[in-house]
């Protein structure tokens, strides 16, 4: 189902991921979060931006295990655990945060 972001209509796949990664803008995450009744904080944006940088460098959305380890290294040990990440993204840090970041569903996520 397409989503409306700042007056633009953006295509998504059947699971709500952006069809075209280049369509992404920060407003995409805001609109998607609103649909999930979630208010995005700086902590959410740290993860979303991290995922976008990871994709930029490696051309893949990382698996949750890899994300957790890398977040711990980059943002501090207190954030590199699944409790913290699931606290921010209750539908799963891999799936939900990648969707907000405009990335495809993580490789290996079913």
């Amino acid at each position: 189902m397409p989503i409306e972001v700042n007056g633009k209509t953006l295509e998504t796949d059947e699971e709500g991921y952006l069809a075209n990664i280049n369509d992404w803008e920060p407003g995409v995450a805001d609109v998607m979060a609103k649909e999930d009744d979630l208010e995005l904080t700086t902590e959410h944006w740290d993860i979303i931006n991290f995922l976008r940088e990871y994709y930029e460098e490696y051309q893949i959305a990382p698996a949750v295990r890899v994300l957790t380890k890398a977040v711990g290294k980059k943002l501090g040990k207190d954030k590199g655990n699944s409790k913290y990440l699931y606290g921010l993204f209750p539908y799963g840090p891999g799936k939900q945060a990648c969707r907000y970041a405009g990335l495809p569903k993580p490789t290996g996520c079913v």
Partner: protein, 135 residues
């Protein structure tokens, strides 16, 4: 508890033109979640998959070569490249990406993932695997 098996993915084809190279890489990344003993081999034209400085803008395909650098994050740390295959194509290790991983047991020291092996050595490594996937 299931037993850890030795899985090896053997890459024999050039990176673009067929979907084999990318499919292999995806299967490796998915398989890495199952905590098996995973290794990769690059032989024949498969060595071209690791060439550095790839540019696919002229062929309209995604350049997935940066993804090989993520293998270390997925704890895939054994990447064998066959020396004869490089020699036959006028290539050397310097033409390939420098792939590394961080060794958890040695205070996250950065180590090389790629090991150059001869055809004979690789045959021995093949013989020691439980499962071989050919791509």
């Amino acid at each position: 508890m299931s037993q850890v098996k030795k899985f090896m993915y053997v890459n024999r084809r050039p990176p673009y033109g067929t979907i084999y190279a990318w499919e292999s890489l995806e299967v490796v990344l998915i398989g890495a979640a199952f905590e098996q003993d995973v290794s990769l081999a690059f032989v024949d034209d498969g060595v071209f998959q690791l060439i550095k400085g790839q540019d696919t803008s002229g062929i309209g395909m995604k350049n997935f070569s940066p993804t090989y650098a993520a293998l270390g994050d997925y704890d895939v740390t054994k990447i064998y490249v066959e020396k004869e295959s490089l020699d036959e194509r006028g290539l050397s290790l310097d033409d390939l990406q420098h792939l590394t991983y961080e060794d958890e047991d040695e205070d996250w020291a950065e180590k090389d993932s790629i090991q150059l092996v001869s055809r004979a050595e690789l045959a021995t490594i093949f013989a020691g695997q439980d499962v071989l996937f050919n791509f």
